[in-house]
Amino acid sequence: MSLVADAAQFLTDPASWSGPSGIPQRLLEHVGYSALTMVIALAVAVPLGLWVGHTRRGGGVVVGLAGALRALPTLGLLTLFTLLMGLGLLPPILALVLLAVPPILSGTYSGIAAVSPALVDAARSMGMTERQVLTRVEIPVALPVILGGIRNAALQVLATVTIVAYINLGGLGRYLIDGLAVRDYARMLGSVVLVAVLALAADAVLALVQRLVTSPGLATAGDRP
């Protein structure tokens, strides 16, 4: 159990908390890569999911695409893109975006497609334009499901950003890879514990957001977020 004590010492040592390789800096990099990935993935997947869900055209293609992307191993894409494009931020972000797109896309699509057709027809017959139907009826009703997909994607990205350290970038995975190189198990342990704490914290925040933005009209219908 002295390994645990060593890991705890690494995590509490003031030296670990300062400088360009300190925990705050690595945490910032980790969250930064994740945020950049999520922004790009959201910009791609949400509009596509909304469009397919609203028009109900190409639903099968979207489900198939999301399934196929899900089977792709992120480590394989990361190493492939790095070999083809060289070191830098582009290869890992591209690989991570491909990881984040499927859950967001299928969440958005299935959320919108599951909105009751009666509700949509009622909105249309009240004279709403297609845009109004989408923004005032379909999106609010589907929001818990859409956010569920986004939450899922964010967690996968936060967990997977750990491996970008493998191609000489920063993030909390840096301690894991560096610790592995010098057989410093305590540092590796500290690194993965930090990632887990970050994931749990992010999940709690996203769960709270999900609850806050859910329309009160949906909360009574026996929903399970």
Binding site: R70, L72, G76, L80, S110, I177, L189, V192, A196, L200
Partner: protein, 252 residues
């Protein structure tokens, strides 16, 4: 392709290791989840405990478990046992939830009919409850299997052998073909296992005709009653209830 012809033996070995690390957890996870879910279904204290516990567990990154487990199990860090235990935990986290939902939403009339026909609890479980929960379980198993197959390769980062080793080795030696072979092999395994599970689900639930999706189950029921079905009437009536479970499960 030159690389593959020279190294197909290594690729086969690694694919074998990859299969063991991804499939064994699915089998073990299924064996743990079904009894656990049956106990938790309807239980006032076990159900919330399991549901919260499994979603917390699922939040913990796989690399964290790969590194922490040697400490708990006393294994070497490059041991495949760590991956198998970690992924078994994830499979349980996925399956327990959907199985609890499946058991809880079984049609009460069907269960009462089985009891009235003289089925004792054990026989009712294996003969009625379990078969009716198969579609939900297969859906959960497919998700767990595909995600396992892509998670196994991450172990290569800390030196655990799998098809992921082709990625780390290919990067180190700058061989694009090696990485491509790894990606194609991983996707191939995922697709084949996914289709095998789909077929297994169809074979185990013959009262739902092959190709009859959950959505169509309600509409086709009438035609089914005329068909030469060997199953009890109650099981057929439950198809509609199951369609509801399945669509609910997909959303959760």
């Amino acid at each position: 392709m030159n690389w593959l012809t020279n190294n197909w033996h290594t690729v086969l070995d690694l694919a074998g290791a990859h299969l063991v690390q991804s499939v064994l957890p699915v089998v073990l996870g299924l064996l743990v989840s079904v009894p656990l879910a049956r106990l938790a279904a309807g239980s006032r204290w076990l159900r919330p405990l399991l549901v919260t516990g499994s979603s917390l567990l699922y939040t913990i990154p796989s690399l964290t478990l790969f590194v922490v487990l040697p400490l708990v199990l006393g294994t070497r860090m490059t041991s495949v046992v760590n991956v198998i235990v970690a992924l078994t935990l994830y499979v349980v986290a996925i399956l327990v939830r959907s199985c609890v939902d499946a058991f809880e939403s079984l049609d009460r009339d069907v269960l009462q009919a089985a009891t009235a026909m003289g089925y004792r609890p054990a026989r009712r479980f294996f003969g009625v409850e379990l078969p009716l929960a198969v579609p939900v379980m297969v859906a959960g198993l497919r998700v767990a299997t595909v995600s396992n197959i892509s998670m196994v390769s991450v172990g290569a980062v800390i030196g655990i052998q799998s098809l992921g080793t082709l990625f780390t080795d290919g990067l180190r030696r700058s061989i694009v073909a090696e990485i491509l072979v790894g990606i194609v092999a991983t996707v191939l395994i995922a697709v084949v296992l996914d289709q095998l599970l789909r077929l297994l689900g169809q074979v185990l639930t013959r009262w739902q005709r092959p190709g009859t999706g959950a959505r169509e189950a309600g509409g086709r029921r009438r035609r089914d009653t005329r068909g030469p079905g060997r199953t009890a009437g109650g099981a057929r009536d439950a198809t509609g209830a199951l369609a509801a479970v399945e669509s609910g499960g997909a959303r959760a």
